[in-house]
C-alpha cells in the first residue's frame, strides 16, 4: 500500500463517515515522511480534526509546516469562494460582504460544483508547486487529501468531467481539462478507500469502489481501519468453539469472553474476505489504537502497519 501510494504525487483518502479517514490520511503522511518524502496533508472539511491530531494547531488554507518534512493545510469552501470572488473583484471586503449574505448562498447553491472545482484547483496548485533555484524541484513530493465522505467524494472527483460536459468551451475549460488529466493519470493520482470490517461499511465500500472505477480514477488497496489486533489462531478457535470446549474444565469462567471475541473475530474476517474477493487488490488491515486523544505518536503503529502490512496485522481468513 505504501509503495503504491509513494509512486504517486496525489492521493485522496475517502470512505464512509466515522471510519477514521483523517487518522489514516495522517498515518499515511507519517509513513511517507519516514520514507523520505516531503509530504503535505490536506483536509477538505472546515470542521475536521486534522489540526487537533497535530497538537491542537489551527490550520490555514496555506500549508503550515509541522516538521521540515511534513506540512498540513485545511480547505474551507467559504475561504476558497472568497478567494475566487476576490480574484474577480480585486476588493476582498466586498467579496466577504457578498459571502455573508443569505441570498448569495442561494446563488452559489445554484452553481453546483463551483466549490468542488475551486477545491481541486487549489489541490492541483500544491501538487504542481515548485521551489528552489530555477524552480527545479517540487515543493511537495506527495500531497495526501483527507477527502469528504463517500457521498461527496464521487461528485468532487468527477467535477472536471462534469464541467467539461456542461461547458465544452469557455474560460474554465483548459483548467478543467488539466484537472481531469491529473485525476485520471494513474502515474500521478490515486484514491484509497478507508473502511471497517463491518457489513454495512463493506457494502458501502464496494459500491464506492465501483463508482470510482467508473469515473476512471486509480484505486489503491482498500484500508481496513481499526481491526482488533488480538486474534485466535485457527486451532485455538476450534478448541474454544468446540462443544464441549477443548479446554481444561477449570478454565470455564474464561469461556464467555473468549467465545464472544472469537465470534466477533470471525465476523470481521468474513467482511475482510468479501473485500478480498470483490476488489482487485488485497485490503490492508490497520490495528485499532487505544481510544482517547489521537496524536502523531499514537498513530505510529498505523504508519508501521502501512509500511509493513504483513508484519503487523495482515491476516488470513480462517
Amino acid at each position: 500500500m505504501l509503495d503504491a501510494a509513494l509512486q504517486r504525487r496525489l492521493v485522496f483518502i475517502t470512505g464512509k463517515g466515522g471510519v477514521g479517514r483523517t487518522a489514516v490520511a495522517l498515518s499515511l503522511a507519517l509513513a511517507a515522511v519516514r520514507a523520505g518524502k516531503r509530504t503535505l496533508v490536506v483536509e477538505v472539511n472546515p470542521l475536521g480534526r486534522l489540526g487537533e491530531y497535530l497538537g491542537d494547531r489551527t490550520l490555514a488554507p496555506e500549508p503550515t509546516e509541522i516538521t521540515p518534512e511534513l506540512a498540513a493545510a485545511t480547505i474551507a469552501p467559504t475561504v476558497i469562494l472568497e478567494d475566487f470572488l476576490a480574484g474577480m473583484l480585486r476588493i476582498r471586503a466586498l467579496a466577504r460582504r457578498l459571502l455573508e449574505s443569505n441570498t448569495f448562498r442561494v446563488v452559489t447553491a445554484a452553481a453546483p460544483g463551483l466549490e468542488d472545482f475551486l477545491t481541486l484547483v487549489r489541490i492541483a496548485e500544491w501538487e504542481e508547486e515548485r521551489i528552489g533555484f530555477r524552480r527545479k524541484r517540487h515543493r511537495f513530493d506527495l500531497v495526501i487529501v483527507d477527502a469528504p465522505a463517500t457521498g461527496h467524494s464521487v461528485p468532487l472527483l468527477s467535477t472536471p468531467d462534469t464541467l467539461l460536459k456542461m461547458l465544452p468551451f469557455g474560460p474554465l475549460t483548459s483548467t478543467a481539462r488539466d484537472l481531469a488529466m491529473l485525476l485520471g493519470d494513474p502515474k500521478r493520482a490515486a484514491v484509497a478507500i478507508v473502511t471497517r470490517a463491518e457489513e454495512m461499511a463493506v457494502n458501502e465500500t464496494l459500491e464506492l469502489a465501483t463508482a470510482l472505477m467508473r469515473i476512471g480514477v486509480t484505486l489503491l488497496p482498500t484500508i481496513v481501519n481499526a481491526v482488533d489486533p488480538f486474534r485466535f489462531t485457527r486451532p485455538e478457535g476450534r478448541r474454544v468453539a468446540a462443544e464441549p470446549p477443548d479446554l481444561p474444565p477449570e478454565w470455564a469462567p474464561y469461556l464467555g469472553v473468549a467465545r464472544f471475541t472469537l465470534a466477533r473475530q470471525r465476523a470481521a474476517e468474513r467482511q475482510i474476505r468479501r473485500l478480498t474477493q470483490a476488489l482487485p487488490d488485497r485490503p490492508i488491515c490497520l490495528p485499532s489504537v487505544e481510544a482517547g486523544k489521537l496524536t502523531l505518536e499514537t498513530l505510529e503503529p498505523l504508519a508501521d502497519a502501512l509500511a509493513h502490512p504483513r508484519a503487523s496485522t495482515s491476516r488470513r481468513a480462517s
Partner: protein
C-alpha cells in the same frame, strides 16, 4: 420522567420461544404518537428506529418508521423489496404480531414538490417553480432543506390518521436542533427581501450603495454565469420570486410542525454508543433538547459489551499442560483482563449519561457478534427496546 419499571414478561408475540420482556421504553411505545431518534452518525440510529418500530408493532400499534437512510441493507433487513417515499408493509404478519409496521424513506425532492403543489395559489405558479432549471439543485442543496422536509413529511403523516405511532430517524447533524430550526431558516431565505435583492442585485451591497459596488456585483454575477453556462441570475430570481408566493403557507406550516414536536405525545430519544466521544456529543445534544423545551425521554445506548460474559472472580489460575495450552491460556487471561477494563470504562460512560439526566430512561442494547442484517436479528434487537 419515571424510573425504569420492573421488568414484566409478556406473551411471546414473535414465536421465537423467548419471553418478551418489557423494557423501560415500553410505556412510550404504548402511548406516544411520535418518537424522534436523534444522534451522531454511525451509532446505529436507523437500526434503532427500525427496531423500535418492530417493538411497537408487536405491542399492537399501527406503526410507521420514517428513515433518511435509503441503505439497501436496511431494506433487506426489513424484508421488503422496495424502500422509498411510499409506505411499504414490513412482513411481520406470520409472527403473531397484533399491530403493523410500515417503512418509508425520506425523499427530499418529492416532499418539496408536494409542498409546492399544496401551497401554490394556482397550478401555473406551481408549474413555474417546478419547471425552473435550478429548482432541482436548489431544492436539495439549500441549507436545512433535508431536515425541513423530514419534519414536513412527518407532519403530513401524523395528520393522515393512518398510524398510531410514527418513529423517525433524523439526519445525522452536527447540532441536534438543525432540523428544528430548518423551517425558520428556509422561510427566512424566501422572504420578500431575498426576492427583492435578486430582482435588483445591488441591494446586497446596499450599504456600499456606490456605483463601484454595483459594478463589482455585476462582475461577480457575470463570472458565475460563465461558470454555470446559463443565465443563472434570471433563473434564481424567478425561483425565489416564485417561492415567495408560498412563504406565508410555509411559515404557518413551520409553526404547526414546531407545536407538534412539543406535544405530550411526542418523545425524543437520544441514540448513542458508550464510546467517550459519542457520549460527549450525546450530552451536548441533550443540553440542546432541554434548552429548546423538547420532550426528552431517554437514551438508547447501542453496542454495549455484555458484562454477563465475564466470569465471576476470583478466576482460576491458568495452568498450562502444553506449549499450545500456555499460549491459549495466556490469551484467555489477556482477553478477560481487556474485556473487564472495557466494561468498566463503558459503565463509567453510561453513568455520565445517568448523572447528566437524572430520571431519564436508559436502555442498553448489547453488542452482537455481527450486525443486524436480517429481520429476525432486528426482531431480536427489538426485544431489548420494548
Amino acid at each position: 420522567m419515571t424510573e425504569p419499571e420492573a421488568r414484566v414478561p409478556i406473551v411471546d408475540a414473535d414465536q421465537t420461544g423467548e419471553p418478551i420482556v418489557d423494557s423501560p421504553l415500553s410505556p412510550l411505545l404504548d402511548t406516544q404518537r411520535l418518537i424522534v431518534c436523534v444522534g451522531s452518525g454511525g451509532v446505529g440510529k436507523t437500526t434503532t428506529a427500525a427496531a423500535l418500530g418492530i417493538a411497537a408493532a408487536k405491542r399492537g400499534r399501527e406503526t410507521a418508521v420514517l428513515t433518511i437512510d435509503p441503505a439497501r441493507r436496511l431494506r433487506d433487513a426489513l424484508g421488503i423489496t422496495t424502500l422509498d417515499g411510499e409506505p411499504h408493509r414490513v412482513p411481520l404478519g406470520r409472527r403473531g404480531v397484533k399491530g403493523s409496521l410500515d417503512a418509508m424513506v425520506l425523499d427530499t425532492k418529492r416532499t418539496f414538490d408536494e409542498l409546492i403543489q399544496r401551497y401554490a395559489p394556482t397550478s401555473a405558479a406551481a408549474e413555474r417553480v417546478l419547471t425552473n432549471r435550478i429548482y432541482a439543485s436548489v431544492s436539495t442543496v439549500l441549507a436545512g432543506s433535508q431536515e425541513y422536509m423530514a419534519m414536513e413529511r412527518l407532519h403530513a403523516l401524523a395528520g393522515s390518521g393512518h398510524y398510531d405511532l410514527l418513529v423517525v430517524d433524523t439526519p445525522p447533524t452536527q447540532h441536534a436542533l438543525d432540523f428544528l430550526e430548518a423551517p425558520e431558516r428556509l422561510t427566512a431565505l424566501l422572504t420578500s427581501r431575498a426576492a427583492a435583492i435578486l430582482q435588483n442585485p445591488s441591494l446586497i451591497l446596499a450599504r456600499e450603495g456606490s456605483r463601484l459596488a454595483q459594478a463589482a456585483l455585476s462582475a461577480v454575477l457575470r463570472g458565475l454565469e460563465r461558470f454555470t453556462g446559463f443565465e443563472m441570475l434570471r433563473d434564481v430570481a424567478e425561483f425565489v420570486a416564485g417561492l415567495e408566493e408560498f412563504s406565508a403557507g410555509f411559515q404557518e406550516r413551520a409553526a404547526s410542525v414546531a407545536q407538534f414536536l412539543r406535544e405530550p405525545a411526542t418523545s425524543f430519544v437520544l441514540v448513542t454508543t458508550a464510546a467517550p466521544a459519542r457520549v460527549a456529543e450525546t450530552l451536548a445534544f441533550h443540553r440542546e433538547l432541554v434548552r429548546a423545551g423538547l420532550p426528552f425521554a431517554g437514551f438508547v445506548v447501542n453496542r454495549v459489551l455484555p458484562p454477563g460474559l465475564l466470569g465471576t472472580p476470583p478466576l482460576p489460575d491458568v495452568e498450562p499442560a502444553s506449549d499450545a495450552d500456555r499460549e491459549l491460556g495466556r490469551k484467555l487471561v489477556e482477553l478477560q483482563r481487556r474485556f473487564a477494563a472495557m466494561v468498566l470504562a463503558e459503565r463509567a460512560e453510561i453513568d455520565r449519561l445517568r448523572a447528566a439526566a437524572p430520571g431519564a430512561l436508559v436502555v442498553e442494547v448489547p453488542l452482537a457478534t455481527d450486525e443486524p442484517s436480517s429481520l429476525s436479528r432486528l426482531i431480536t434487537l427489538s426485544r431489548a427496546l420494548g
